[in-house]
């Protein structure tokens, strides 16, 4: 145990947890990493490629090493950073990426083979034989290298999403963030303050420097209390703002219940979409290390992390107080760690500082002008080699803090194509001009990282942001704080022949970068791909700048010339579950139910998804063992008696206004203005390019009132196009449109006995052929006074009607029609029978109107009126389209037992079956109970002139080929006598 006094942990409570099956204890306020260190556990994982033993190098979300699988079973979450996993009672964690125990990983043999696994190794090796790559080499490499594995089970937890709108979003609640939030909050602005940590304070919690002479945590608590009491402030802890998007929109994930054993009734995480008028980025800085030989052993960590563990978590990464700790730093900040360790009573070996004139700030041994050039220790650090003036000494040492300076966290300022700029004085990248609009970086992330500078910078940033919104904010009185200058010098790595790690997570060493340079993979984007530098869960937060500097040194270019890779969200890993927004399975997207859905369900209907709609596909009856039996029965019932089908899903658009007729003349290819009141006309709509895109009926209910129907799938599109035409193309027309699709339940009543059935429900309405002929429409009442609409239209080719009533009555109307039609053989039919009936009749549907066909192709070329202009009419006559000779034909197998397969392509007998000889394709096919065989519809070159000809339908995907006879597309009642009868 290496707990030391102090810290921000609650020692009054003890939490029990397990790591690799062994039980340990910790306290509230601990992270998994701090608790493990306090229990003397420094080895937490294995590296990606070489399976080297690893422990945490940081105390934050940037950590590349301490990746564990948290929880078990379906809740197992791989690649969780122990450095940010909040300790809870009962936490279980396992290490990853090893074969056998963590302390004796069989795969560590990879480390011995490291010359083979150098940069770009998988681009160079395992190339022969070629076929082995996919089946053998790649799976083998993937098994050998990698991080954690998914459980493979469904995520049992729920996730939520939400939307926040504010004047000012403050990202990060350290010194700069808190002062920014305080400034804005006191000014009355709507403020959202988000921080990834579970408590506010940021780096203030990790430092020993006082604020106004007292502990920094006291000031943080005061500010927090004030902010929490204000109604205009929203504080989101455990919340990572992971991405900057357009127009002041930020993505954030709140880990609502990740710190609990199970979420219980709570959601696990919430995805917040935050729309901020202005934002202050106070994301702080990430310390960088200095690559030197064997710098990756457990016990070696960032100097700032070492003092964070000591100050905030009251622990040291050593086995006992006698163990020696050293600091290797090229800047003054590293010396703070030495001072804090001394204050905590640690056994400090000294500070190794490569600067010849390195200052000494306290009573410790200073190795000025010296470097760490090697380390020993199998599973943790045991000694270091210090080289000064050419003389090397090995000294016992169990923990080493390394500081190469600090890199401002420019990520969120760089997401929206903002480019960081190199600051020569700081030897670091800082946010550049032209970053995300309205975002002001402040404090350490802007390169102003002393506590005093950060406090002042945050307040000024908030004041500036609010003044742009016309809100005047006063600067608050800020506490007295340390104001050490940040002096960073260019010392990027310790030269040497041994491996010196730059990117711990991906096992990229200085040698790998040198090799990439040698192999001409010098641009940063190439360097990244060739070496895998900066990839995976940490995205190189502790590695990238150092790697750039090493490459710059090799190329002789300056660091800004070497450039950076593009920053993209997310800042840290975001689970797919929370990105999904929480809805899964059948609730993943909304479902639309027809007015007769519950009735159909009660009848045992099978349903099919048609876009968001669920439609009855067929209604199986007892004894029917195959769907075809049901469908054949339903289709026959329509042809012989009467069938009922819910057709509510077809789009309905109410068109009114003095110019409604003229408007529709321009929207439809055929004439609608001349339609008589009380009549319906079938219409075609073309795209601007002259192709067909929708068809349907148009009913004229009054002189200035039409009802347009569309196909189910295009209801939204047609409405949108009509709205565009109304508002933008012809605003001079007096026309008003609105969708009424859902308002009316519409039921098709089809079959020779449909008139008889309908006559039993209409209220004194004359349904005779003379009074209400084919293509008539009327408003009427049914069932004793219910307002309704009746259309005499037919998709099946039979005598047929569609009756519409307010949707709430759809269910009851269906019941009534079923009851009234029992003696007439009334039969409900679904979309399958609907399809059979229309194919038999040769009516085009979605399969024919696939966006590549024309009115002429479906045999309705005459419907593109030449007497007026309409959308797409001119383009339909253009050269290359007008000459298309493919026409809709019927297809019937020569062998009645053969099947017509939709999607098959048509070829003349004796020709090669390839693109050059392709003569068309089959759009729709079904078994026709009326014909007694499989039939189909398709487009065939010169189809209209080839009746009776036998062609071949090839289905190369399934290896079949059938001889089909070309017939007219109307298999039923070609003269249309039935529907007019």
């Amino acid at each position: 145990m290496t707990r030391i006094p102090g810290g921000l942990i609650d020692r009054s409570q003890t939490l029990t947890f397990s790591f690799n099956g062994k039980r340990y204890t910790g306290h509230p306020g601990d992270t998994l990493a701090s608790a493990l260190l306090a229990n003397g556990v420094h080895l937490m994982g294995r590296s990606f490629k070489y399976h080297r033993p690893r422990g945490p190098v940081s105390a934050g979300s940037e950590d590349p090493n301490a990746l564990v699988t948290l929880r078990s079973g379906a809740r197992a979450e791989p690649n969780t950073r122990a450095t940010v996993a909040e300790l809870y009672d009962g936490l279980t964690a396992r290490s990853q990426n090893h074969v056998g125990p963590l302390g004796f990983d069989a795969m560590a043999v990879n480390d011995l083979l490291s010359p083979v696994f150098a940069a770009g190794f998988y681009y160079k090796t395992f190339m022969w034989p070629r076929a082995f790559w996919e089946k053998l080499y790649e799976p083998m490499i993937r098994r050998a290298a990698g991080l954690g594995a998914l459980s493979g089970e469904a995520d049992p937890d729920s996730y939520d999403r939400g939307y926040l709108h504010c004047d000012l979003l403050v990202i990060g609640a350290g010194a700069a963030g808190l002062s920014a939030a305080l400034t804005a909050a006191r000014a009355g602005a709507q403020v959202v303050l988000a921080d990834e940590d579970f408590r506010l304070g940021g780096r203030l919690l990790a430092e020993s420097d006082p604020l106004d002479g007292g502990p920094a945590s006291d000031w943080v608590a005061e500010v927090e209390a004030e902010l929490r009491a204000l109604p205009n402030v929203r504080i989101l802890t455990r919340t990572t703002v992971f991405g900057t998007y357009d127009h002041g929109i930020f993505g954030a994930v709140e880990r609502v219940a990740d710190h609990l054993p199970v979420p219980g009734t709570s959601v696990r995480q919430t995805l917040w979409r935050i729309t901020a008028k202005r934002s202050v980025l106070a994301a702080g800085a990430t310390e960088r290390h200095i690559p030197f030989a064997s710098n990756d052993r457990p016990g070696i960590m960032m100097a700032g992390a070492l003092r964070a563990y000591a100050n905030r978590w009251a622990t040291l990464p050593v086995a006992g107080p006698q163990d020696r700790i050293a600091v290797f730093t090229n800047n003054d900040d590293g010396h703070r760690t030495a001072l804090d360790l001394l204050a905590k009573g640690a056994n400090l070996l000294g500070v190794i500082d490569p600067r010849a004139d390195a200052p000494r700030f306290g009573d410790y041994q200073l190795f000025a002008g010296a470097q760490v050039t090697g380390t020993h220790g199998r599973l943790g650090l045991s000694s270091i080699e210090i080289t000064r003036d050419g003389r090397a000494d090995w000294l016992e040492c169990h923990a080493l803090g390394v500081s190469g300076g600090w890199n401002p966290n420019v990520h969120l300022a760089s997401h929206h194509r903002g480019r960081p700029v190199w600051n020569e004085e700081l030897q670091a990248f800082v946010p550049g001009e032209g970053g995300p609009q309205g975002l002001i970086p402040a404090g350490a992330c802007a390169g102003r990282g002393s506590t005093s500078a950060a406090l002042g910078d945050g307040a000024r940033a908030a004041q500036a942001a609010l003044s742009e919104l016309g809100i005047s904010a006063a600067l608050p009185r800020l506490p007295e704080a340390e104001d050490r200058p940040l002096r960073q010098t260019a010392f990027w790595h310790v030269p040497g022949k041994a491996r010196a790690w730059v990117d711990f997570q991906n096992d990229v060493t200085v040698k790998d970068i040198a090799l990439a340079h040698k192999e001409n993979m010098r641009p940063v984007e190439h360097l990244k791909r060739w070496t895998t530098l900066g990839m995976a869960t940490d995205q190189g937060k502790t590695a990238n700048v150092t790697a750039l500097a090493v490459m710059a040194e090799l190329t002789g270019k300056a660091i800004p010339e070497t450039g950076t890779t593009i920053f993209r969200p997310p800042y840290t890993g975001v689970s797919l579950s929370v990105l999904g927004g929480g809805d899964t399975g059948k609730d993943f997207r909304p479902t639309r139910l027809t007015p007769t859905h519950h009735w159909a369900e009660a009848q045992g209907a099978a349903f099919v998804e048609v876009g968001p709609w669920l439609r009855a596909q067929y209604f199986p009856r007892p004894g029917e063992t195959h769907w075809r039996e049901s469908v054949d029965r339903e289709a026959k019932a329509v042809r012989s008696a009467v069938g009922l089908c819910d057709v509510t899903t077809l789009g309905k658009i109410d068109v009114q206004g003095r110019d409604a007729g003229e408007f529709l003349n321009r929207v439809y290819s055929n004439m609608m203005g001349t339609l008589k009141v009380g009549r319906v006309r079938y219409g075609l709509m073309l795209r601007e390019d002259g192709h067909l895109y929708d068809d349907g009926t148009c009913a004229r209910m009054a002189e200035d009132h039409y009802v347009v129907t569309t196909t189910t799938g295009n209801a939204g599109l047609v409405y949108r196009n009509m709205e565009f035409a109304r508002q933008c193309l012809w605003p001079e027309l007096d026309v008003q449109i609105i969708s009424t699709t859902d308002a009316w339940a519409q039921i098709a009543v089809a079959g020779p006995r449909s008139r008889e059935l309908l006559s039993r429900i209409v209220d004194g309405f004359d349904l005779s052929n003379e009074a209400f002929p084919f293509m008539a429409c009327a408003s009427l009442s049914v069932c004793g006074g219910l307002r309704a609409r009746l259309f005499r239209i037919s998709f099946s080719g039979e005598l047929a009607y569609e009756v519409a009533v307010p949707a709430r009555y759809g269910h009851a109307l269906m019941q009534r029609l079923m009851a009234q039609g029992a003696d007439l053989g009334v039969t409900p039919y679904g979309t399958e029978a609907l399809g059979v009936l229309r194919i038999e009749k040769g009516h085009a549907a979605g399969a024919e109107l696939n966006g590549q066909t024309t009115a002429a192709m479906i045999g309705l070329g005459m419907m593109v009126s030449g007497k007026k202009d309409s959308i797409g009419a001119v383009m339909s006559r253009r050269e290359g389209l007008a000459e298309d000779s493919r026409r809709l034909v019927g297809l019937q197998p020569v062998d009645p037992e053969a099947k017509v397969v939709p999607g098959s392509h048509l070829f003349a007998d004796g020709t090669a079956q390839d693109m050059a000889h392709d003569q068309g394709w089959i759009t729709s096919a079904c078994f026709s109970p009326h014909v007694g065989s499989s039939i189909g519809l398709g487009f065939l070159e010169d189809g209209a002139a080839r009746m009776g000809e036998v062609i071949l339908a090839a289905n190369p995907l399934e290896g079949s080929c059938a001889a089909l006879r070309v017939v007219p597309p109307h298999f039923v009642d070609p003269e249309g006598e039935r529907l007019r009868g």
Binding site: P590, T594, V782, A812
Partner: protein, 185 residues
Amino acid sequence: MADLRPLTALGADTARSARFGALTLTERPDIALASLALRAGAAEPAPFGLTLPGPGGLSGSQDHAAFWTGAGQWMVLAEGRAETDFAAELRAVAPGCSVTEQTDGWAGVDITAPGADPLERLTERLVNLPPEALAPGRATRTVLHHMPVLALRHSDTRLTLFAMRSAAASLWHALETSAQRQAVS
């Protein structure tokens, strides 16, 4: 009147209602709706004494309400009138306007709470709107769980959402799930 029995959008004989902590969800099949659009040259009417509001506005009287849906377009509501031909009634008092029946085009759900806070905590989970767009007296068209909805904030304590009637079950599911979470959080 017809001898047919209507079903609510949620498929029952009576309106569904459920309480989750401070929040109560109530299906409102009784609200009649009709759209009203000005024709060219028509004077803006004041149906049922309502002042037709501007963009984002909701105006109401005892039994009626109107909210803006587009340039020269409004939706007019009448509580307890869904079983009547409300569109015809509106047409009679809005001469020179295009009126379309919308009652069964929508499934309405009232969300009520004793105060504004629980309502606003719920809506921030549901719709991407700044609070001022849903302040009392405001109405807007927005998207909720991939569904187009009309959101009407009658008062601090009452919000009505209308979704496509066919999507009533999905709307209820979304509201219920969110309200339940608010109740336990």
